[in-house]
């Protein structure tokens, strides 16, 4: 019998031998993402409570408005119209707050543990962004499941399309949160700022009323500069596309226009994604410089 020179549990980890590079960075992105998942799963109440706002908008505001606006909508159920808007705005807070957790990490020191590691700070930021997008998308599944209650058919292409739009939108909104989190160092300051940003974005996105010829011209104009309008319009376009040809809700859905040219839904999504990638790059830059 031979005994090994060192106890097996004290095996020396040859860290220096590990190549850095892309694989290592991808693994870091993965673990940052995974940590956000673990924390959400440990606290499912957070996910459920964030569903309250969209449900209120859809079934309370929607029910109230359906009766009041029936004359102007050709008899459409206003809830059907509201659904895509509520779906998109319902993920905003989840996405932005998930980015803001990086400010908590800074306050509780964990950000430092990540920043002193032999990885690029961009990997942390990207992992966070994907984490926020995933959490918001999972949350939206619960809302999408309610589509049938507002006369929207469960079609595979519709569900996949909506999930895709939701993911891209929440990715972009998490990037918004990350840019803010890079600059604002305290949660107390950040919370009111998030409200100040998200409320106008929500109200000027056409999520709760139709844009286009039915809206005041100035509002229709302002909405074109709001990234959320593109997300809401894309979601509404794909929903309406799956409704029966005679559904009056179709009359309330209009594409955004650039100098009179109607922007197709796929381009809406690209606009949102482009803004997201741009903001994420800015966030990466901020974190690389300031921490």
């Amino acid at each position: 019998m031979t005994t090994t020179a060192s106890r097996p549990d004290l095996e020396f980890a040859p860290v220096a031998a590990v190549g850095g590079g892309l694989l290592h960075e991808l693994r870091a992105i993965g673990i940052v993402w995974q940590r956000d998942m673990v924390r959400v799963l440990a606290d499912p109440a957070r996910l459920v409570s964030s569903l309250l706002q969209p449900l209120l908008f859809l079934f309370i505001l929607g029910a109230g408005l359906t009766a009041a606006v029936r004359g102007g909508t050709g008899g459409a159920d206003f809830k059907t119209f509201l659904f895509p808007g509520v779906l998109i705005t319902g993920i905003l807070f989840t996405a932005v707050f998930s980015a803001i957790s990086i400010v908590w990490d800074r306050e509780f020191g964990f950000l430092r543990e990540m920043l002193v590691a032999p990885i690029s700070s961009s990997s942390i930021v990207i992992g966070k962004c994907l984490g926020g997008a995933t959490i918001a998308t999972v949350q939206s599944v619960l809302i999408i499941a309610l589509a049938g209650t507002v006369h929207i058919p469960y079609r595979f292409t519709l569900l996949i399309g909506l999930l895709g739009i939701v993911f891209v939108t929440s990715f972009t909104m998490t990037a918004v949160g990350l840019v803010m989190a890079a600059r604002v160092k305290s949660v107390q300051t950040l919370m009111p700022m998030v409200n100040m940003l998200l409320m106008p974005l929500t109200f000027m996105s056409g999520s709760l009323y139709p844009l286009g010829p039915q809206a005041p011209q100035w509002l229709d104009l302002v909405a074109r500069y709001n990234p959320l309008s593109y997300a809401v319009t894309a979601a509404r376009t794909i929903v309406v596309h799956h409704l029966p040809a005679d559904d009056p809700t179709r009359q309330l859905s209009h594409p955004l226009t650039w100098l009179g040219w109607p922007v197709p839904a796929w381009l809406d999504v690209i606009v949102v994604a482009g803004i997201g990638v741009g903001l994420l790059s800015i966030a990466c830059l901020f974190f690389a410089r300031t921490e």
Partner: protein, 302 residues
Amino acid sequence: MRGIDLDVEPGEVFGFLGPNGAGKSTTIKMLCTLVAPTEGSAQVAGLDVVAQRTAVRRQIGLVFQETTLDEYLTAEQNLKFHAAIYGMPRRIVGPRVDSVLDLVGLADRKSSAVRTYSGGMKRRLEIARGLLHSPRVLFLDEPTIGLDPDSRQVLWRYVDELRRREDITVFLTTHYMDEAERCDRIAIINHGTIVALGTPAQLKAEVGDDRVRLVTPDNAASARRIAERLKIEAAPDGDALLITVPDGEGFVPRLFDIGISVQSISISRPTLDDVFMAHAGRRMGDEEAAAAPRHWMRAMNR
């Protein structure tokens, strides 16, 4: 920082001492690549902290003054997170996690959320995490600050265990003298420069001799006798006599040889506090005591 010139040997436990604000943490931050030095250079494990920043980071383990754990994750999850961002080979992560948790005595708590840990346990977990990727150098910035005396004892037991089991250099800062005593070598820093460097024994020997304090029935007579027979001056110090000699313990029998009758006697060696006093002109604890709110409260309650 005004300029520090320092070599730390591989495998030693090196203590960096000084009062708050002396530049201990700044030095550590430079060595850990968190702050770039404005001039001069530093190498850690043979790598330059500015030019080879990422390589240095792979070779060092860090334990900061403040906690940097995710308290909502379990100990094991915290360690696995660390393993991933340090790029450890996947197959060794599991055994290595168990090994470092075992080293700091937390193996049975690895599945508990960190928020259920005591302060001492958190600090031990941080040391385990600092060791996880087998760094060549472990930096401990005030590792026992805010811990109760029992936890400090326990923590030091693990540091001693660590140097026995791992091939690693430990660089730590502290302002506790009793902790400095446990280091192989120490540097004392004040106002951004090193004022003393050496083993604790060397530094204390440099400061001076042992002090023998004795009380006799007639101090004046005894002093005269010691001066005549031993050619050593015994200075009055309150109701006692104070004698400084290089070897206090060897000196005491000689007093009996010349027939001095002693009522009480004590020998004291210079402490590191005396070393600091000699180099910086004040006590280590002075500003600490002045800044401690608890001390102030006690004064108020009186």
